[in-house]
Symmetry: C2
Subunit: 404 residues, 2 copies
Amino acid sequence: MFPKGFFAKGVAAGIKKVKGKKDLALFYSETPCTTVGMFTSNIVKAAPVLLSLKHLKARPDNIRAVIANAGCANACTGKKGIDDAGFCAETLAGMLGIQKQNVLVASTGVIGQFLPVYKILAGLEKLHFDVLKGKSDEVSAADAIMTTDTIRKVSTAAFVVDGKKINVWGCTKGAGMIHPSLVPSNKLHATMLAFILTDAGIERGALDSALKEGVEDSFNCVSVDGDTSTNDTVVVLANGLAGNKKIVNGSAGYRKFCEVLSEVCLDLAKMMARDGEGATKLVEVVVRNAKSKSDAKKIASTIATSPLFKTAIFGNDANWGRVLAAAGRAGVNFNPEKTSVFIGNILVEKNGMAVDFSEAIAKKALTKKEVKVTLDLNAGKQESRYYTCDLTFDYIKINASYRS
Amino acid sequence: MFPKGFFAKGVAAGIKKVKGKKDLALFYSETPCTTVGMFTSNIVKAAPVLLSLKHLKARPDNIRAVIANAGCANACTGKKGIDDAGFCAETLAGMLGIQKQNVLVASTGVIGQFLPVYKILAGLEKLHFDVLKGKSDEVSAADAIMTTDTIRKVSTAAFVVDGKKINVWGCTKGAGMIHPSLVPSNKLHATMLAFILTDAGIERGALDSALKEGVEDSFNCVSVDGDTSTNDTVVVLANGLAGNKKIVNGSAGYRKFCEVLSEVCLDLAKMMARDGEGATKLVEVVVRNAKSKSDAKKIASTIATSPLFKTAIFGNDANWGRVLAAAGRAGVNFNPEKTSVFIGNILVEKNGMAVDFSEAIAKKALTKKEVKVTLDLNAGKQESRYYTCDLTFDYIKINASYRS
């Protein structure tokens, strides 16, 4: 169920070039939300990221709305960019009878172009009337943030704590310039946009640590092209309308909340990889039996971003040498002669050397919609799972002329 | 002129799948060579790299020959791989009346397959007869090391020191899995193969530091796909037959030698980028006015390996936002609002924001065979130049089925 007290809707405001395409979303809560966010670590941060950071710092327990648009990233737009984003927030706040600082903003699209402010204001006016009429339509909101995405990305979950049913709903967008490196708002860092709404009552510190935990193995473990965006944003708004006793760190309710939030984050992150620009399949890179989790993640990330690995996967080619070659340049010390590589469940390399395997069976595993490649380091007990997609002709097609 | 006392030739030994294609080269010197090398920093090092390191350490002033083959990388082949490479070196040494340790080996091609030793021995026998007959043909040697390369890569230079003419000749191969990160043989590190021959008389320490200097701004500043190979090797053999007084560190002759060697290295490195798999153009990324050279290089390398940047260049799209976005994730602190971006000589971004520029003129600069993109950080005085190519449909085509 969509969380209590929330409104979400998307409209076509004319920001995208294609007429009639939804490109402006509003997420709104009847009551103040405890809100936490994680943002891109890119040094070049878009205006909406900078503004949202400021508002989150000022009103962490009193966020009421998030405006998100596609079609224009409002990045590399200087002071005017921040003023534009602020003007949108302020105007919406005026319509809703809240304050500018109660509003977060997020943008995705072309870099270096100014926001079409008046189109956005006209769109917000429509959305504001829908809020008044209670005409929520979360599916349209998820659609409005899409750019080169080909599928809508929504994930929901629910659980019971304290005898109360708690609902979690999240949506995300992202197919290209995807290699989030999200850091908490007090540190900064990721263009994927994800908005997660919950009616849980939860303390801010608990929400914050739950998000960090959730992001680490999901959004921060997904890459389409290795390019970390200027606009990446994940925010969770919790309005407490489920009526549960506030969830605090360390409680059983907290553990449950973490699990559910992590599930939603992972579900959304995998959708991004599966729908990566030009992708024909979802690829899961597992590095296991590493000395440390950070070792495992560095290697998994290097394999998952290797163009040679990704084109081999596109070609259904069990070219395990590219797995080892990528692992070897990850900056982690390991003994290649103790490794094994599996494609699906098929062992293709052992002790750093080829093993006899059926190319036909390997090809069969590679032609599936979901391909798992495992590198076993045989050096410890830690593992990391990284999600990516194949690198295809369509990736080139999409990106050789994105601006035009 | 080809350096005195050297022999170089390539033959078809049947290692490559295509019958009759040259795939085995021999470089040989009549007299002992002072030899230095730099090798891949990949943790997964091919057998020929490991063996050459050993031989270089044992006989740094007495290398006589280098065997290089294409079609099989002899990487991930365990102890058998090292034995195979050693057997080839030993057999050649026997034919030439030298010792196994006087011979270096280098391989490029598919990972995880054993060397076809008997084909190589038959090829070496032919080459050995050519040595005896003095039938050197350096062009065929440069051809024999090519894999997905479409053009032969040779560079020559000469200068006079001490009244003696000194000749430098180099060849290289490399179009894919190109992101060398070469380190001196005493540290280890990079599949590009480059062989540089000179008849200069030069002390080993001087040759060593000249190579390090030369590689830093050439082979270590070139990337086709960001993938550092298991086999990268650069070796310089100096046999002293020019008859000059030995060049020592710090002398005027040394400076001259460094300049010439650096030129040859840069010339060869640029050929690799221009001939990168699927490339339609050579792209030079200049990061200037950085605080430090290392800052400049980190940023230039990140831009040069960004798939989004490289596809935009393929599409002749002046998408400078991707330049800034890539720079921002390089792990270097800088102020985006002080930057400028140029495409060719056209200013397209200033102070972190778009400037008005003619898209037509920018497109014209982008459709050239050599494209220069400059990011000015306005933060210091250091610069770095990085060489890459565009990312195209043909890159995918070549790499989606390399093994088969």
